[in-house]
C-alpha cells in the first residue's frame, strides 16, 4: 500500500552569522494511513524543523528547504505554490503546536477561530459553521461549549486552549495530524487527558499522527513506529516495542537508560557524557562519536548510513557495519 506521507532526503538549512546550520540533514521516512509515528530527540536535533518543513512554515530567507521531496497523497508539498498549499494545510494536513496560546489569535473569539477552516475548506455557511464549532468544542470534552465559543483565548487555561487547538486541527477531518510537543507545556494530569483524546480521535477517524516529542514516556504510550533523531539526522528507527526492547544505536540506548523510570529506581542514573555537538562544527563523521562509549577510528572520519538490521529496525552506526564486514 502506498504510504500517506513520504519524506525523502529532506534538507533544511538556516543561515546564521557564523555559518550555515544544517538543521535537517537528509532524512527520509514515511507515515502510513492510521499509523502513529513519533519523532523523538533532544533540543536542536531537527525534529520540529522537520515538521515546519512539511507545513511550509520554514521562514525564508534565513531558513530554506534546500532539497528532497515530501509526498503527501499525490502531491509533492515542496513543489506546490502558496494557494495549493493553503488548500491542503488545515484541511487534509493539520498541525498543533507546543504553545496553544501563541497559536491562537488573542482578539478573535474561540468560536470564530474554529469556524474559519470550516468555512474556508468545507465551504460551510456561517450559521452551520457556528453550530459545528460548538459541536467540536463539546467533542474535545469541554463543558458549556456555547459559552466557551463566545470567549477569548486569554480566558481559558492552557489545557483548554490545547483542546481548542485540537478541535480546530481535526475540524476538517485531516488525514494526517502533526503534533509538535503538544503536551510539553501542560501538567501531567492534563497531558493524560490530551493524549487520551488524541488516541480516541485517531481510532474513530482513522487519521494518521506524526507526534514530535522529547518524552520517551509519551513515545512508548502513543507510537506505532519511532524515529530517533540526533543533530539533524535519523540515527535509529523501528517499531516501538522492538526499539524499546532492543535499541541498537548507542545514543538510543543512552537515552533510554538516562531517563528515570517510576518504579524502577536505581542508585545512580546512567548519563550520556558530554553534550550535543555545535551544528556549525560538524565534519563527515558519526555526530555522536565524541559521546559514544564504542567510538572507533572510522566513526571520527566517516559518516555511517542508516541501514536495516532485521526485525524492521534501522540504525546508522559503524558497529553494525563492522560486524557485517567481519562476518
Amino acid at each position: 500500500m502506498k504510504p500517506l506521507l513520504k519524506v525523502e532526503n529532506l534538507h533544511t538549512e538556516f543561515r546564521t552569522d557564523e555559518g550555515t546550520v544544517k538543521a535537517v540533514d537528509g532524512i527520509s521516512f514515511q507515515v502510513r494511513a492510521g499509523e502513529t509515528v513519533c519523532i523523538v530527540g533532544e533540543s536542536g536535533c531537527g525534529k520540529s524543523v522537520t515538521a515546519m518543513s512539511m507545513m511550509g512554515l520554514v521562514e525564508e530567507p534565513a531558513g530554506k528547504v534546500t532539497g528532497g521531496a515530501i509526498t503527501f497523497g499525490d502531491d509533492d508539498l515542496l513543489r506546490l505554490n502558496k494557494h495549493e498549499l493553503r488548500a491542503i494545510r488545515g484541511h487534509e494536513l493539520a498541525m498543533i503546536f507546543q504553545e496553544p496560546m501563541s497559536s491562537l489569535n488573542p482578539v478573535l473569539k474561540i468560536g470564530e477561530q474554529i469556524m474559519e477552516p470550516l468555512m474556508l475548506h468545507l465551504k460551510l455557511k456561517r450559521k452551520e459553521a457556528a453550530a459545528h464549532a460548538v459541536e467540536l468544542i463539546r467533542q474535545v470534552g469541554i463543558s458549556r461549549p456555547e459559552q466557551i465559543a463566545a470567549s477569548y483565548p486569554h480566558e481559558l487555561s492552557g489545557g483548554m486552549l490545547q483542546r481548542i487547538m485540537i478541535a480546530i486541527a481535526v475540524s476538517c477531518s485531516p488525514k494526517l495530524l502533526i503534533a509538535d510537543e503538544p503536551t510539553t507545556a501542560l501538567d501531567v494530569t492534563i497531558q493524560a487527558q490530551i493524549l487520551d483524546m488524541l488516541r480516541t480521535f485517531k481510532e474513530s477517524s482513522g487519521m494518521s499522527l506524526l507526534l514530535i516529542t522529547h518524552d520517551l514516556g509519551v513515545v512508548a504510550e502513543m507510537a506505532d513506529y519511532v524515529i530517533v533523531m540526533y543533530a539533524g539526522k535519523i540515527v535509529e528507527e523501528g517499531e516501538v516495542t522492538a526499539l524499546f526492547a532492543d535499541p541498537k544505536h548507542p545514543y538510543t540506548r543512552g537515552l533510554l537508560k538516562s531517563k528515570p523510570v517510576m518504579g524502577r529506581r536505581t542508585e545512580e542514573l546512567y548519563s550520556i557524557p558530554g553534550q550535543v555537538p555545535n551544528p556549525l562544527e560538524l565534519t563527515p563523521s558519526c555526530y555522536f562519536h565524541d559521546r559514544c562509549g564504542h567510538c572507533m577510528e572510522v566513526c571520527v572520519s566517516r559518516e555511517p548510513l542508516l541501514q536495516p538490521l532485521g526485525n524492521g529496525q534501522k540504525a546508522a552506526c559503524w558497529l553494525y557495519e563492522e560486524a557485517k564486514i567481519h562476518v
Binding site: S258, K259, I272
Partner: protein, 321 residues
Amino acid sequence: MSEALLEVSHLKKYFPVSQGLFGRSAAQVKAVDDISLTLMPGETFGLVGESGSGKSTVGRTILRLTDKTAGEVKFKGVDVHSLSPAELRRLRPQMQLIFQDPYSALNPRVRVGNAIGEALLDHGLATKSEVRGLVLEALAACGLSAYHIDRFPHEFSGGQRQRIGIARALILNPDLIIADEPVSALDVSIQAQIINLFSSLQRSKGLAYLFISHDLSVVEHLCDRIGVMYLGSMVETASRDELFKHPLHPYTKALLSAVPVPIPKLKRERIVLKGDIPSPVNPPSGCKFHTRCPLAVERCKTEIPLFREAGTGHFVACHLV
C-alpha cells in the same frame, strides 16, 4: 533522633488580588495554605505538584524571599521570619536557592568566575586572594573546567549553566539547598548528568535538599520523603517507597497513574482526572480536590479534611482514607 534542619509549621502565604483603578484589594490567592514539613540534615524532601499548587511559593517563603502571612519557619531552631535584616543576611549563605532557568539567574555581562565568587566576597567569607581557588574548586565539584572561569554565561549550554547555578550555591558551603525545578528545562541526557551531580554532592557534603518538581520520576529518584501539594495545601506526605507503593490520596494516585512510562504496551490502570485545576483565587469549598475527585462524596464538598497520620510517617488529608 537528631535535630531537624528545617521545620515549617502551618505556613501560610496569601497574595492580595487587586481590582479596579486604585488597586483595591478585592480577594486573596491562598498560594500556600497551612503547610507543614520537616527536613533533617542530609535529607532530601521532594515537593510535588502541578502548576499553581504553590510549591515554588513554599520555597520562596521558607527563604524569606517573600514575607509569610502566618505560620513559622525554623532553620536550625531559628525563626527565619523574625530575624533582623542583618541577622538574616548572616544566615543566607547557609540556605541557598537554585532556579529552573539558570540563564535568567545569571548576569550576562558578569564572567562566570565572578558570578560564582561574588557571594563569598559579599558575605566576607573569603579574601580576594582566596576566592579564585575556591571558585576553581566549586567548578571542579560541579563538573566544569578551570578554563570556564573567565567565560560569559552565553558561552555555555543549558546543562552547563545549571552546573554554574549549582556551583554558585555550593561555594557558600550551605546546609540547605532549595532547588526549584532545577532539571525541568534540560534534555533527558543532560538531566541525568545534573541529577547525578545532585546526589554525589549530597553524599560528599552532607547537603539537605528541598527539591521542588512536577516530575514524579525525577522526584522518586532523588528524594527520601515526598510531599504532594494541590492548590496550596499539602494532600499527602510519606517516605518515597511508601508514597510510590501505597499512595493514599486520590490525587496522588491520579498523578502517579498519569505519568507516561517508557515501556510500550504496558497495561496500566489510568485514572484520568476530569477538568482543569481550579483557580487558586476561588478554590473549591471543603476538600479543594472534590471537583476533580473520582471518589468525592457529599461530605467532601463542605468539610475540609484534616491532615492526619494514616500510618507511620504517612500523612494524608482525605475523608475517605
